[in-house]
């Protein structure tokens, strides 16, 4: 026998649809009102014309866009490499910090010292130390400043990420390890199969959030000499005394961040749904 919804059910569905349409229309209307008010407030300001010519000049934007894009490509490559390596480093350090037993004290102490100092050190100073200090040693086979600057970013962000991972690991209830051990798993196996999967899932949103922050900070590599998107924009600004290139770079960075922010939101939502499953 096929399912035929009752008249009452059909009414219910129709009512829900009407409410949905109504709320979408209302939301669109209120957004339009707010948008118009903002636009009027900004473009109606007495200095708007000057701001428009010095910040929103289409000619300057078109002129410097290719160079900014070239710079942005450097940012993207750096982001991928730095994010992957910083996540790996953070995870390793977090695991080292949670090792138990007196034998591992030096390892724990080193890992703790690392997270304490590199979370405190401003990234700019770490980049200076790496990009200008290390080549100064004049060792054989010193890598390019690009590599050194990337290393500075990785160790700084690795320290933040290590703390996030550690918080995740410690949030897993001790009974989980006890249960795993009583099933005959070694400490390493318990970590690998029981603790870490839960820990990583719990801290996924802050991890991704740090990655978004990392995306902006990879631009600081320009301190070491390479021309990234922001430096390319700065050169444009210096040449034309017009701030439009900065706006162009800013918009590109937002576009670059959007997918990552979207993923973060999705992961957070999914985690929340799973957490509340069955309620």
């Amino acid at each position: 026998m096929t399912y035929a919804p009752s008249t009452r059910q059909l009414e219910r569905i129709a009512y829900r649809r009407r409410r949905a349409v109504r709320s979408v229309l209302l939301a669109a209307l209120s957004t339009a009102v707010v948008g118009t008010l903002l636009a009027v407030a900004i473009t109606g300001a007495p200095g708007w014309d000057r701001v428009k010519t010095s910040f929103f000049d289409p000619e300057a934007a078109a002129e410097y866009l290719p160079e900014i894009l070239t710079g942005l490509w450097l940012n993207i490559r750096l982001l991928v490499v730095c994010a992957a390596l910083a996540l790996t480093l953070g995870l390793i350090v977090a695991i080292l910090r949670t090792l138990r037993g007196p034998v591992f004290f030096p390892v724990r102490a080193l890992a703790t010292g690392y997270t304490y100092s590199f979370r405190g050190l401003p990234l700019i100073i770490v980049i200076y130390l790496y990009a200008f200090g290390i080549p100064g040693l004049r060792l054989q086979g010193t890598p390019d400043v690009l590599v050194l600057g990337a290393a500075a970013i990785i160790v700084t962000y690795g320290a933040y990420l290590a703390e996030v991972f550690r918080a995740g690991i410690e949030s897993v209830h001790p009974s989980q390890i006890a249960a795993a051990r009583s099933l005959g798993l070694s400490y390493r196996q318990a970590m690998r199969h029981v603790v870490l999967p839960q820990a990583v899932r719990r801290v996924a949103p802050p991890l991704l959030n740090d990655t978004v922050a990392l995306q902006k900070d990879v631009g600081l590599i320009s301190l070491a000499g390479p021309i990234d998107a922001i430096r390319a924009a700065q050169i444009g600004v210096a040449q034309d005394a017009n701030f439009t290139p900065y706006i162009v770079a800013g918009v590109l960075f937002v576009l670059l961040a959007l997918p990552l922010i979207g993923v973060t939101d999705w992961v957070t939502l999914r985690a929340a749904r799973r957490q509340n499953a069955g309620t």
Binding site: A131, F132, P135, G136, R138, D144, V145, S222, L223, A224, G225, P226, I227, R231, Q234, I235, V237, A238, Q239
Partner: protein
């Protein structure tokens, strides 16, 4: 309250003024007619209204650095600014014997207030801020961009712009130096850009770049005082809006016009170019790259 005599007084003054202006053309005529000769007279050789009549007192800092001066002796006529100073003095009708040097610190020279020199030559960049406090002549030097490196670098022996093509160069962001790299040298590799010249210098010392571009005065200072093995590769052709050096005079000095036109003449007849080549490119060790 207006007194009833006021209109009378105003009228009287007006009449008197009319009378004076009516009579004045006779007296006015001669100065306007001979304006040019009067100006020339004002700059008559050797008869300027100097601090010591018959002598031209020139100020500069002590110590006076190479290659603008030589051996800290401004009076020896060696070094670019010393040579320019004597050329200007000569043009004004003060032969070397009538030139006296006095030591004035850089900051004192551009501070407002009475001056103990007629003219001061000390690598002063002409700026609007400084013009509030002192007079400047027209520029006697346009600052050039210069490539510097360290001994043993692969561009240490470069003789031309073409020799710099394959080099990894650096410069400070937003400067004429950076413009010189991208517009004049156009190297194959992307140049490195630094927040300031100190960062660029550090990268040069570390060998992360083969050479850096700075302006000539900075190049002399860096290679002379800051870098252990600094070498000036050479000066680049003029680019962008260069910084200008001018001779400083007291604010509102009667001599400014004369000294300025003397500098102009020296530029026009090519004397400045010759002196620049002699004292900066050859003796100063900053050869021209082309």
């Amino acid at each position: 309250m207006v007194s009833r005599y006021t209109p009378v007084a105003v009228g009287g003054v007006a009449l008197l003024f009319a009378a004076v202006t009516a009579c004045s053309p006779v007296e006015d005529e001669s100065p306007t007619a001979t304006a040019s000769s009067a100006a020339a007279d004002a700059c008559a050789p050797g008869s300027l209204a100097t601090l010591t009549p018959g002598k031209l007192t020139i100020g500069t800092d002590n110590p006076a650095y190479e290659p603008w001066f030589s051996d800290n002796k401004p009076a020896n006529g060696k070094g670019y600014e010393s040579a320019v100073a004597y050329a200007v003095a000569d043009r004004l009708g003060y032969p070397a014997a009538n030139v006296e040097w006095t030591s004035v610190t850089f900051n004192n020279a551009i501070a407002p207030g009475p001056k103990k020199f007629d003219i001061d030559i000390n690598q002063f960049s002409i700026t609007d801020e400084r013009k509030q406090a002192v007079d400047f002549t027209s520029p006697y030097y346009l600052v050039r961009q210069t490539v510097i490196t360290t001994k043993g670098s692969k561009i240490a022996g470069a003789k031309s712009l073409a020799d710099l093509k394959g080099a990894k160069l650096g410069a400070q962001v937003g400067t004429t130096s950076y413009q010189a790299v991208t517009d004049v040298i156009k190297p194959d590799a992307q140049p490195s850009v630094f927040n300031n010249n100190d960062d660029a210098k550090a990268a040069l010392v570390n060998g992360t770049v083969d050479g850096i571009v700075v302006d000539l005065p900075t190049a002399f200072y860096m290679t002379g005082a800051e870098l252990d093995n600094g070498v000036i590769v050479g000066q680049l052709p003029q680019v962008g809006v260069p910084e200008q050096f001018g001779i400083v005079l007291d604010k509102g000095s009667a001599l400014t016009g004369c000294v300025s036109s003397a500098v102009d003449q020296l530029r026009q007849d090519g004397t400045l170019a010759v002196l620049e080549k002699t004292w900066l490119a050859e003796t100063g060790g900053a050869p021209e790259l082309s």
